[in-house]
Symmetry: C2
Subunit: 615 residues, 2 copies
């Protein structure tokens, strides 16, 4: 058996395929405003260099962070794992976390697709570490977008540059999924600042010693504001008070009460924070309008949800590639044609059909989710680029971003976890050991389906908000795009059977949308949460099936020009089989789910509360 | 929020229903030979008392064991978690682990169904701890069955009584699933003993300080024996050499090389053992015939596989009941009818339809798997009771045990894990914390799908051995039993739609068997491992759907006699909804899987090795 290889693995060829061959960013995103400085070479250079960074700097700290975790010192400060401070410094020196930041704040104004691709490398090599700079960037971006010019200079600028860090503080003990139940208070002071008082829980990066200051973005209710999310306002609450030059002038009554002990992402500090217990916590309203907190927070939240999708993808991808290497390396049993002959030569487990099926399933899901995320991020860049140029086209692209976000978050996190679980299974007993990276991936991955809105919340976002958004236009455009692909390729010489299944899946998803519409209109509200998660899976699988088949169409075309020895030949062959596998083995479940959805079973609401168990 | 409740939960009412109302052990198992001493009262008393034991003794040590784990001292001995030694002593004093043991060895000759029910309580309250006595019992039972009278007295007797412990040593670094590749050697000594030499890995309970001696059952190849499993013999290899009175006379050259660091079951010591590195390890052939090792080991292995099924059930059941309590207790958001009104009263999450669906899904799976296991164990008792009385009936019962074993092991472990995963999801962020028992359940549960034969191996056992066993009679009898149920209840006033789906699922499973037969006959061997796991799920879901519907038939009948206030009313109502839910939401996937199976997709074998990735 080879030595355990506790290290990050990534196949950049797949990203390059998505960017330059499938979504073709070089045609209308690169080298044009607002990304005029960014050409294909620059993109490739960033991918190569940031993979090197992930492999050399953050990757080796992944298991260290898991084992050491974070701890609360007696003086109330938090110790993060060894090496994290050095990695933070190197990250901002290299500029990998400030790629998309504004130039005036030290950034490079790179396309969002590229920042997200780099995020995959950072998250996959060290999920826990990557959360500190990820949240800092999101908070900085929010302040820059909604805050005053002064706040952008005082706070966001330092956060973009990695001088200070940032967090998002939503959850309270009684307000998890029900954010609107938050009770943290804000009382206006005479100088225009607000006194903040309340407890926030599950705050990632809530405290640490990576930076001298941390800017918390805190959702709170100004005295007298209405209940629910509409009464919330957003405040920038620095851990330490600062003067206008950013020099620390004193503490701000933000106390780390405790840290959570978790199943995974141990290197990421998850804190309970108490604001204003001594009535000495001062916050500034972000921008100058009260009661806009939830809308403002949702800008950050939407990016954070895409970030979680990327986390799911990133560990699943490394789990897949580690498993593939193990399967090539591990010898066990004779081949299938001599399975009853104990003296037959032993083969690598990659030769066993069930292992190949597991690997192909993992490959199809990993590459399908990467395609979904890249579709989303390139829509985002096109929406930005087309704003004011072609507003209708920009609206189409933005609509697809909105529609795809809950799919990417929920399906990416659920399947990310499932891929890690399958990886353990292929490793066998070895997968259960800490000697290999897989069991940590699984433990880290479990949180992805919970934070930034549980996957049940994502499903309600899809069916309750996104399906009907813009009068249903966004969903219709998506279904129309799939239908166009089906029409164009139903006679494809190698993929016709897969395309036919895709067509049926498209009809099933369209029918499902009508079903939800009918439930809403007839007030059969219980059906919505009962069926939403099932429907989210259906739409996600339709989307993956489509993108995998489209990738196969492109690849089969390219195969005509590739000579036998060229490494691309095998790459394109792989795309073809991933699409065929998914179309034959996963897409049919979309129709099966539609059938179940159609029965509108209410057994779960009909069962009396006391009938679940007698204890 | 209520205080975290890190404790074992179990609903004995469900077990009593299965034993006395569904499988009716009182009619032909209890109070008759060989279980003449065992009546309904005795069974109920044992269940009550052993649940108390699990709650008071083993349960409180579950998290302790997880946190402390096992460690290898400098002197080469192993330290198990605090309290395990005391629990071991109390367990054998109370007799819960010797229920089924022969009376002459201090046991009570209880039915297997009862020993297994108690095993659920021990495993669910503390999986890691329960493995030490579980393996000891299995090893003792093997020695008693195949060993000499002297071995039974010297070894098995002390193991049944908990004076010594036992292990099973199969796996080697290069021989995991491929047991027949084992290279551990046995060389016959002049005195009839054998010199054992080799390395065994993943040995659960491989060393510990619970007992002064441990009897390892070691598969090894006698010099000159043929390759593969048929050349293996089984040896009793005590950790310390003993005289004929059982007094320890010296060491036996069995060295604990290292312990594994695992994802879970940390309280269970997983050792790498080296036998005979100094050429001073002596083993005794179990019994007096060489080269029967694999057959002998399989007797223990089959019981161990059922034990793993029970492990999966046991943690899933406690996860479900903990989650149910949490859902009743945790208040979040308004009810579905006022979901847009932030001032509406908050409700317990049990009121949310998607949470109810998750809970009912968990309930149906937990209770369905418990029904499957209880069906299996009561078949076993009937097979034993009928042997020599009605051999044809005994053969039927034994055939069902054989057929159901891989289903219980694989489906029980896979779904046990899935239920724990769903439990975390219902808990939300809290489920990810070590404050609650769920994340440990999930980590512990992941090994169940791997050890005692991976679930891929179980699936091959089902389609390659069990389907065709006894000329296909066992499988036909199973399908016939389901068909009889469908015929008898297709007009059932409340369950007819569920019974109709069951009928279709039965046809799909029968069709699948023909499909495998055809693949075998036509030599299309790759299809077997490609499709076996999917088929195992189909058969398992058919079986669960059947048993849940049969439980509902019985419950609906009983409901006629139960008054409104009686606690049984809600219990029986619960059985009805669990069956309806499963029939409407899970059973249809059997037909969908059959369809996928029928396409006989070969993409996973067709894809070239190098097409999986470019790295």
């Amino acid at each position: 058996m080879s030595q355990p290889m506790n290290r990050y693995k990534m196949d950049l060829r797949d990203l390059r395929f998505l960017l330059f061959e499938l979504f073709k960013v070089q045609t209308d995103v690169l080298s044009k405003a607002p990304f005029a400085e960014w050409g294909e070479d620059e993109v490739n250079m960033v991918l190569d260099e940031s993979l090197r960074f992930a492999t050399d700097v953050t990757g080796p700290l992944n298991q260290v962070g898991d084992k050491q975790g974070c701890s609360l010192r007696e003086d109330g400060t938090v110790r993060v794992p060894e090496g994290f401070a050095g990695a933070w410094k190197k990250l901002y020196e290299a500029g990998w976390r400030s790629l998309s930041a504004p130039a005036e704040h030290g950034g490079q104004e790179a396309p969002y697709f590229l920042a997200t691709a780099v995020e995959e490398l950072l998250a996959g090599s060290n999920t826990a570490f990557s959360m500190y700079p990820g949240l800092t960037l999101g908070a900085a971006e929010l302040i820059k977008h909604f805050g005053s010019e002064r706040q952008a200079q005082l706070y966001a600028d330092r956060m973009f540059r990695g001088e200070w860090a940032g967090t998002m503080c939503l959850t309270e003990p009684h307000a998890g999924s029900d954010v609107g139940a938050a009770t943290t208070k804000a009382i206006k002071n005479d100088d225009g600042t607000y006194a903040i008082k309340g407890t926030k829980i599950y705050i990632s990066g809530g405290d640490h010693d990576l930076t001298p200051n941390i800017v918390h973005l805190v959702l709170a209710r100004i005295e007298g504001a209405e209940p629910g999310t509409k009464g919330l306002s957003l405040f920038a609450v620095p851990k330490h008070r600062v003067d206008e030059q950013g020099a620390i002038t004193g503490t701000n009554d933000v106390v780390t009460v405790s840290l959570e002990h978790k199943m995974g992402i141990n290197g990421s500090c998850t804190a309970v924070l108490q604001f204003g217990d001594e009535d000495a916590c001062i916050g500034e309203l972000v921008g100058d309008v009260e009661h806009r907190g939830i809308k403002q927070m949702f800008r950050m939240m939407n990016f954070a949800r895409i970030g979680v999708a990327v986390q799911g993808l990133s560990v699943a991808s490394s789990a897949y590639l580690n498993t593939l290497e193990y399967a090539k390396d591990r010898t066990q049993g004779p081949g299938i044609d001599s399975w009853k002959d104990p003296s037959a030569p032993k083969v690598s487990i990659l030769k066993h059909p069930n292992i190949r099926r597991d690997l192909l399933d993992m490959k199809a899901k990993v590459e399908g989710i990467r395609a979904l995320i890249t579709k989303l991020t390139t829509h985002q860049d096109r929406a930005v680029a087309l704003q004011g140029v072609d507003d209708e086209a920009a609206a189409y692209h933005q609509g697809q971003v909105d529609l795809l976000t809950p799919l990417a978050k929920a399906y990416g996190s659920d399947q990310g976890f499932a891929v890690c679980e399958r990886a353990i299974q292929v490793f066998g007993g070895a997968g259960y050991l800490q000697d290999w990276p897989i069991e940590q991936y699984l433990r880290d991955a479990k949180i992805f389906s919970i934070y930034e809105g549980t996957n049940a919340i994502q499903a309600l976002d899809l069916v309750g908000r996104k399906l009907g958004q813009a009068g249903g236009k966004n969903a219709q455009a998506f279904l129309g795009d799939v239908a166009k692909f089906v029409a164009a390729h139903r006679e494809h010489p190698e993929l016709a059977d897969g395309v036919a299944v895709l067509g049926k899946a498209q009809e099933a998803v369209a029918g499902g949308a009508m079903q939800f519409l009918q439930w809403f209109q007839s007030g059969k509200m219980a059906h919505i949460p009962l069926s939403a998660e099932c429907y989210l899976e259906m739409v996600s699988e339709l989307c993956l099936g489509w993108l995998l088949l489209e990738s196969a169409v492109v690849s089969i075309e390219k195969l005509k020009e590739v000579s036998d020895g060229h490494p691309d030949k095998m790459f394109y062959e792989g795309k073809k089989y991933a699409a065929l596998y998914f179309a034959r083995n996963v897409l049919p479940s979309v129709m099966a789910k539609a059938k179940t959805l159609g029965t509108a079973d209410t057994s779960a609401v009909d069962i009396p509360d006391d009938a679940f168990a007698t204890v």
